[in-house]
Amino acid sequence: MTAKVSLRGLYKIFGPDDTAMVPHVQAGMDKTTLLEKHKHVLGLRDINVDMQPGEITVIMGLSGSGKSTLIRHLNRLIDPSAGEILVDGQDVMKMGQAALRDLRQKQMSMVFQKFALLPHKTVLENAQLPLSVQGADKATCDAEGRKWLARVGLEGFEDRYPAQLSGGMQQRVGIARALTANTDIMLMDEAFSALDPLIRTDMQNLLLELQKELHKTIVFITHDLDEALKLADHLVILKDGAVVQQGEPQGILLAPSDPYIEDFVSDINRARVLRVRSVMGPVSDESFDGEVDASRNLEDMIALTGGDTNHIYRVTDGGEVVGQLDMKDLVKALVPRPATGLDR
């Protein structure tokens, strides 16, 4: 499977003479030294990420880790100091003004943390913006705008103004706007961070539901690990502008490579996030207490057994036996593990 979007050796340094600073950073200079010696701020350091088509790639990090800077490189709202950005194998850095505009109109759409809707336009006009920018006729604009507004649950609100809607509804307009653009790639910059927890869960479910249908390549930025684990097919963890670990989220949870990530994952509800697939072992017993699906989470399993750790289940995935689950292993997996390769 070839990556839809690839970042190769991406560096971003903020300051008047950023390209000249790249060699220093490549030679290993850290953020504080760079700031003190050269008065330049290190934004991103040697980012290499492949984003697969049809997957949700979540980039997670605390504020200041460079995640919002990173996502803005994909459609070149920010230009990198060094490195390559490949979209469908094409180098975005080599594009001229017109080609870049074409990329932004037809290949990538974006959803923003603060919604960034046009306050003087109605919900419908906002939703059809990407098409009207491309010069589509009014009927197409209207039909597409209405279709996607209905899809995100905003039927009947077409003629309202953004200020008349709640935060969650405004972000639905933001998502409808991105969907109307009908692009393969969707960039979501902390799209749900400004919403309150219940609405955030709603929106996450909406996104997963849409994704099941549309199979877009989604790049999602968040600072919330629960959100990251819920949405991610591929999780990238950023710290101080560098990738600390990336991979399948369950793998990161079970084998954090760094004390930083370990700290991160120690606070979350592992039982809800981990799935049977991640903690099962190979089939070795003959008799089982039952059969469970590999995609069930551990919380479900504990509820199923009523807390009894003596059960052993056969694990199936799509009707095929893929392993067995000893409830004792399950309980062990709930205890956070120290980072691999580190003595504690």
Partner: protein, 344 residues
């Protein structure tokens, strides 16, 4: 013996100073000293400030202050014909517009003009109370036989404000797009706003004949254009950065960004600038009557010249009334723009 003789002697500049001393024109102080025997002033005062005039006494080669003002005058007069050659044709349409509008406002009978003005008021403000107030004021002008002069003033304000907006908004847009342009234009605007209004009448009088209407037209526009430029610049710079980013992310062209996002969002500020421009051109109308602008200003001027108290005060209050109706109408229009986008 002048106060600074010693300095020039000491520096060995005596010979250089005395070249052509005989022809040097006499300063006012010298004249006084000769005629009134007041030569003792310098000695009694001790050390006079080394101004140009004082230094001139000691050294004939140093110019006097009156040479400075004479130099400016000579410089201006020497390029006057070239300036006139360039500026005369460019500004000629202004004369036509002013004369034409004045003719229309004066020759249209009152029973056409007043309803027409009220219609405009209604279209702009959509407010019954404002329209009724304007009607009352216009009828009052007619009632006290000031209708004609008020119409003249109104015609001048209309033309000058219209041109100020037409020229000022593009300049403001240019300023908002380029920091260099802003840095160069802001000092010019400061100068235009603080220079006493009579001062820029002086060169205009040299350039154009006093009977030409463009003379006062230019003076009014120069004075009144400042706020609309400033507030257009400010308004566009204040547009939410997130919305601009969204516009970029969806691939809007520069023109689409300006016409669909920046100008509509800056409109309340631009309208506030237009309101200020109207007020300032009205203020300038009185001063412009010094250079043959017709209207209420002429009556104010007559009041001052002939000490006709009543004439001056009635005309002055007439200007206040005009200011109030123009302000109310433009504010009502501004409020309409403002609420149009928030909630309705």
């Amino acid at each position: 013996m002048a106060a600074y003789d010693g300095v020039f002697d000491g520096l060995g500049l005596r010979d250089w100073c005395d070249v052509g001393k005989e022809d040097a024109p006499m300063s006012m102080a010298q004249l006084l000293a000769q005629s009134g025997g007041g030569g003792a002033v310098a000695e009694e005062g001790g050390l006079p400030f080394p101004s140009l005039d004082v230094l001139h006494e000691a050294c004939g080669r140093i110019g006097q202050t009156r040479d400075l003002t004479a130099g400016i005058e000579r410089g201006f007069l020497s390029i006057r014909s070239e300036l006139k050659f360039v500026l005369d044709p460019i500004t000629q349409p202004l004369s036509w517009m002013l004369d034409g509008t004045l003719w229309v406002f004066q020759s249209a009978p009152w029973w056409v003009m007043i309803p027409a003005l009220l219609l405009i008021t209604w279209l702009v403000s959509r407010s019954k109370s404002v329209t009724a107030f304007v009607a009352l004021v216009l009828l009052f002008f007619g009632f006290i036989d000031h209708y004609e002069v008020a119409m003249q003033t109104l015609a001048i304000v209309f033309v000058c404000t219209g041109l100020s907006v037409l020229l000022g908004v593009p300049i403001g847009i240019g300023m908002s797009k380029s920091d260099t342009a802003q840095r160069t234009i802001v000092p010019i605007l400061d100068l235009l706003q603080t220079l006493p209004t009579f001062v820029y009448l002086i060169p205009l009088i040299f350039l154009f004949s006093v009977t030409e209407s463009k003379l006062y037209g230019i003076a009014i526009i120069l004075y009144a254009i400042v706020p609309v430029i400033r507030l257009t610049d400010l308004g566009i710079r204040l547009v939410d950065k997130d919305v601009i980013e969204a516009a970029n992310a969806f691939g809007l062209t520069a023109w689409q960004k300006l016409s669909r996002v920046e100008l509509p969002l800056a409109l309340p500020n631009i309208m506030a600038g237009v309101n200020q421009t109207i007020m300032m051109s009205l203020a300038m109308v009185v001063i412009a009557s010094l250079v043959s602008a017709p209207g209420l200003g002429v009556l104010v001027l007559r009041g001052i010249r002939n000490l006709e108290l009543g004439v001056g005060i009635v005309a002055g209050l007439g200007i206040v009334l005009l200011a109030v109706i123009l302000d109310r109408v433009s504010k009502a229009a501004l409020a309409r723009v403002d609420t149009g986008r928030k909630e309705r």
